[in-house]
Symmetry: C2
Subunit: 295 residues, 2 copies
């Protein structure tokens, strides 16, 4: 049997359409559009592409996109001053500082300076803490996208054993906290884990977020496991052309898994959809406006 | 073979002696004593005992104990005003509000109000977030005590599989984050976990923090596992007398485990020792004073 493909592109399009519909209602109720401020320092081409996509998705959802592009030699003090200004700007509901930042700027300092209640990326330690403790806050976009795909695929996650491979602050750890809140038994594995295949073989749910192309093999999986592949790795094929692959060896995994996200077209598209979702949620919280619970 | 007993009482006495010696040096270097403010609202007898023990340990270590006892009908606003005052008092290095609080007071609100840099209990979401992300902050005292016992028993924890049973904000989740930072593979199990004995049987390290007397049986354990029992449950014995037992069935577990904490005399005594350790660390950070790294 071959695994069902989890269509992240379709799920993201559907979430974006839902957000757009809710934005329209929010605008007629409050007379204003939610605003997302995106800050780009320097000219990293990949970052520029991300910022452009985010701006486009924001506008398509009926929200305001405010882009601040700063030169690569911007000082930390200048960037912090901009963050302060955006923190106090009532038109700004969400603030996103595109990473990575140039070496003269301490990214932790900048992220900690963003008002936690406008931190739609969910990277401020206050939001990491709220997630750990179970208080309302902002959850990072990629982990939230993983959770939404899993819920759509499996429904109730309670009691399932989830193995998260990777323990980064932006994916592995927040995914683990989200799945724990869904009442999964959660194992966090990483580069120091012994006998990783045996650990993964217990999982009803595998979330791979390590950045190593095709690392997780089909024969590591329990039959009919649900596999969420967060990796996006560029590799060169036999034909000399480069292509994107995940952290999971898709060809062998799809023969064992019950359902699996492809790369590209799996988790990737959910990230921006969750970003505009978070921005709308921020605007609604700030205005005391009630959104549907399951957004 | 019978498991080695992990003597928490001795470890706590040793940590308290180390803290006292460092406090003496801190006092001669800075001319002041670290101060711990403890706030008790109402007359819960168990809370009163805890507060008394904490004050005693603080003074024995050469630090100042400042106790604020408020009536049971204290309003939330009054308590928040006291927290604000302690936040801005330069003689106060640590603030601890004894839980539980009476029903008219929102404990989350109070804990969030404590200056994260004086939050020696480590319950403020900012400190939960710092722990999750790996930034310096304050780690809750009982989890820190567990880690210190494990390090003393096992040395390097990297690559060991730790199973944490229980996912509370004050023990299970912070213990999991600490062990992850030590490069353990970490599984968080709880009341919704399926086949808990099989999950526990994988563990090199078991941390039990569920509050169910004698729940974890010896035949759930891998041979020579290290067992940390955080539970403190009062049960009635066959003789009608009440006594304290842990979450682990000590009699059967000690036949399989390599090392195990008794209850009482295991994790319990470490909690207050870590509280005075955190208070000294806070004072040192606030004064830019250098402490030994492994304190």
């Amino acid at each position: 049997m071959t695994a069902r493909l989890i269509d992240g592109k379709a799920a993201a399009a559907s979430l974006r359409a839902t957000v757009a519909a809710e934005v329209a209602k929010f605008r007629s109720a409050t007379g204003r559009s939610p605003g997302l401020a995106v800050v780009l320092v320097g000219e990293d081409p990949a970052s520029a592409v991300y910022v452009r996509s985010k701006g486009k998705a924001t506008v398509e959802a009926g929200m305001q996109s405010i882009e601040h592009k700063l030169p690569a030699d911007t000082s930390e003090a200048e960037l912090l001053a901009l963050v302060d200004q955006l923190n106090s700007d009532p038109a700004v509901d969400g603030i996103l500082v595109q990473l990575p930042l140039p070496p003269q700027i301490d990214a932790n300092k900048v992220i900690t300076r963003i008002d936690p209640d406008k931190d739609v990326d969910g990277f401020n330690p206050v939001n990491a803490g709220r997630l750990a403790i179970g208080l309302p806050g902002f959850v990072p976009c990629t982990p939230l996208g993983c959770l939404k795909l899993l819920r759509a695929e499996l429904g109730d996650l309670a009691g399932k054993h989830a193995v998260v491979i990777g323990r980064s602050n932006i994916v592995g750890k927040p995914v683990a906290m989200l799945l724990l809140a869904e009442h999964c038994t959660v194992t966090i594995a990483h580069s120091r884990t012994r006998n990783l295949p045996a650990v993964v073989r217990q999982a009803d749910i595998v979330v791979a977020a390590v950045g190593r192309p095709n690392m997780v093999k089909g024969d590591w999986l329990k039959l009919h496991a649900t596999v969420i592949d967060v990796g996006i790795n560029r590799v060169e094929g036999d034909d000399g052309k480069s292509r994107l692959v995940g952290d999971v060896d898709f060809a062998s995994a799809r023969e064992i898994a019950g359902a699996i996200t492809p790369v590209p077209g799996g988790v990737g598209p959910m990230t921006i959809a969750c970003l505009i979702r978070n921005t709308l949620v921020s605007a609604a919280r700030r205005d005391g406006y009630q959104l549907p619970e399951d957004l």
